[in-house]
């Protein structure tokens, strides 16, 4: 009886917090929305309307911890955000629309969004009319608690700017919504720089890399120059990495030296070799090995599952992490390096005594952008002391771990979306 009461009260009382800005915000992370049946537009097909609105909500998910799910079944009062089209007097709303021109939509705090169906709403990139996507993203911003922002390029500008062919939420808009709902946080399965060789039209071979973050069955490409993920990410693993386990991996290792260039994914007790040129896993590689293979077979002395691993080009060793132990595997000798496994504190000592992940780490990542190795665990990371650090401060221990920082303050806006919004 008591539990029922708790559930009853929690269900109907939406706890509100004013957050620091004094603007109201939802205190739920997963919000339900619905395009109201009697409020369909007469200009676009219903499916077009719903898919544009789905994308608009997804765009807010991609930059904030909020997730949105279309709910066409629950009681209306359990739907957080209701949207509809109407002209003049509409949907029982107190504010009448003014016909074509001027007001094209309005929204109420934490509740409804109405679109003026006298306006000529069009699908994205139609090149004419008023982009329903752009207006929807703007009005959802209001519902989430954002006011108008008079900044060129902000999606929260009050007036419609037709000429922007494609639009995305810029840095300041992201910070505005994150002021209300916080930043995206979470653990990762692995992080790596995927290196590829490409030929220019002149036949030159150039080497490119991109940074990828993986979490469960999703991945993000991270654009280091722009401090954000690729627009439209996350994407499902099975779309971008054919052949690896679709529910995620434990580690990614790129063995790259004068004689070798091999990419491996690890999951459980097995590992796969990835064919970067054909963008899929090898069934059988040029050495005749069929994949997946047992880790203990490919790397004698090491057995899965492992926490993570990375390849150190300085000494051609792969460092496998498992619980509190580190296994250094000498690739050239095809055996564990002498004296390993060792405790992680002995191999990667803390620079500040109590500031250490103490094993069970999520990710060991060598970043070409930062030319440094990072160990990630939970929402924190520790940077490994590099040669340049030791040049400036010789007293630093070799492979020491510098004091931790927050992952989300270093790699920004790596946000989940609701599974129903994931394109498969």
């Amino acid at each position: 009886r008591k539990r029922h009461l708790v559930r009853l009260v929690s269900k109907s009382r939406h706890k509100r917090d004013l957050s620091k800005t004094g603007y109201m915000a939802f205190s739920k992370k997963v919000l339900k929305w619905r395009l109201i049946g009697e409020g369909y537009s007469s200009q676009l097909s219903v499916e077009d309307q719903r898919s544009i609105l789905r994308l608009a909500f997804r765009m807010w998910s991609e930059v904030s911890p909020l997730e949105f799910v279309e709910d066409t079944r629950s009681l209306l009062e359990d739907v957080d955000i209701k949207l509809g089209f109407g002209t003049g007097r509409h949907l029982g709303c107190n504010q009448r629309f003014d016909g074509t021109g001027q007001e094209f939509a309005h929204a109420w705090f934490l509740g409804d969004i109405h679109f003026d169906d006298d306006e000529h709403f069009t699908a994205p990139n139609a090149g004419s009319g008023i982009s329903l996507l752009k207006v929807a993203v703007h009005e959802i911003g209001h519902v989430l608690g954002l006011p108008h922002i008079y900044r060129a390029g902000s999606i929260m500008q009050p007036s419609y700017l037709p000429h922007e062919s494609s639009f995305e939420m810029d840095w300041m808009d992201r910070k505005a919504i994150q002021q209300l709902y916080g930043v995206c946080k979470g653990r990762f399965n692995t992080v790596f720089d995927w290196v590829r060789k490409e030929k220019t039209p002149y036949g030159e071979v150039i080497i490119r890399f991109n940074t990828y973050f993986m979490r469960d069955g999703w991945y993000w490409l991270y654009e280091n120059k722009n401090n954000r993920t690729r627009y439209g990410d996350p994407v499902a693993l099975q779309i971008g990495w054919r052949g690896i386990p679709i529910d995620g991996v434990d580690a990614y290792v790129h063995v790259w030296s004068r004689k070798r260039d091999a990419v491996y994914f690890f999951k459980g007790t097995q590992f796969w070799r990835y064919d970067s040129e054909n963008d899929q896993v090898f069934r059988q590689d040029s050495e005749g090995y069929c994949y997946p293979r047992l880790i203990s077979k490919g790397f004698p002395g090491v057995s899965g599952p492992i926490d993570t691993a990375f390849y150190d080009r300085r000494n051609s060793h792969i460092y496998f992490f498992k619980n509190t132990l580190v296994y250094a595997f000498d690739v050239e000798a095809n055996s564990l390096a002498r004296g390993f496994p060792k405790n992680i504190r002995d191999v990667f000592p803390p620079v500040v005594s109590r500031d250490h992940p103490d094993g069970n780490i999520d990710v060991a990542y060598f970043s070409y952008t930062h030319n440094a190795v990072f160990l990630l665990k939970g929402t924190r990371f520790w940077q490994v002391v590099g040669s340049r650090d030791r040049w400036h401060r010789p007293f630093l221990p070799r492979n020491g771990l510098l004091p931790h920082k927050e992952v989300d303050q270093h790699w920004f806006d790596i946000c989940n979306i609701h599974p129903t919004a994931l394109k498969l």
Partner: protein, 175 residues
């Protein structure tokens, strides 16, 4: 009789019987500026909607202090109406209009002249969002909101649309 369209709406002629009122003179500009929060409504009754009596029946609103809420106005403006409490130190009408015009010109990136020129007219006639530009600060004389006040106040915000009114009662009954 309502048009019935082909399945693919190919025969939709966007013949719009009604057009938003063009902002062309001082009067319509004043309406625009007051509607979007740049100045106090000059003729409060002007903004009234015709089925005004439906709203006042909602007793939540009645107990807002000093409420001069007209039916049909959206709640954000209701907070705006609260502002009217301090009558006697108002600027003259034209001063208020000019300062509001300047404010609008400034935020719209126009030359701040205080004159209702062509550029300002064009900016006012652009398609735009109906949410007011200005948040109206509640007077400090209003007691700080307790969380329960906040809840009930939020409830107003959530459920102002008519088709939710039955929800309001239903929830009240359930609580």
């Amino acid at each position: 009789e309502k048009l019935f369209h082909n399945r693919d709406y190919s025969d939709v002629q966007t013949v719009n019987s009604h057009q938003a009122e063009i902002i062309k003179d001082k009067h319509t500009a004043e309406l625009f500026l007051s509607r979007y929060g740049f100045m106090e409504p000059v003729n409060w009754e002007e903004i009234q909607f015709e089925d005004s009596n439906t709203f006042s029946s909602d007793d939540f609103l009645d107990d807002l202090p000093g409420a001069m809420i007209q039916e049909g106005t959206s709640v954000p403006q209701a907070r705006h109406a609260l502002h009217n409490g301090d009558q006697d130190d108002r600027p003259t009408e034209s001063e208020a209009f000019i300062s509001a015009l300047k404010e609008f010109q400034k935020v719209s990136g126009l030359l701040v002249t205080g004159v209702f020129d062509e550029a300002t007219k064009a900016a006012m006639n652009k398609p735009r969002c109906g949410v007011p530009d200005r948040e109206i600060e509640l007077k400090s004389s209003i007691p700080p909101e307790t969380s329960s006040d906040l809840d009930s106040f939020d409830y107003i915000l959530n459920n102002t649309s008519l088709n939710n009114s039955h929800n309001i009662h239903m929830n009240t009954v359930r609580r």
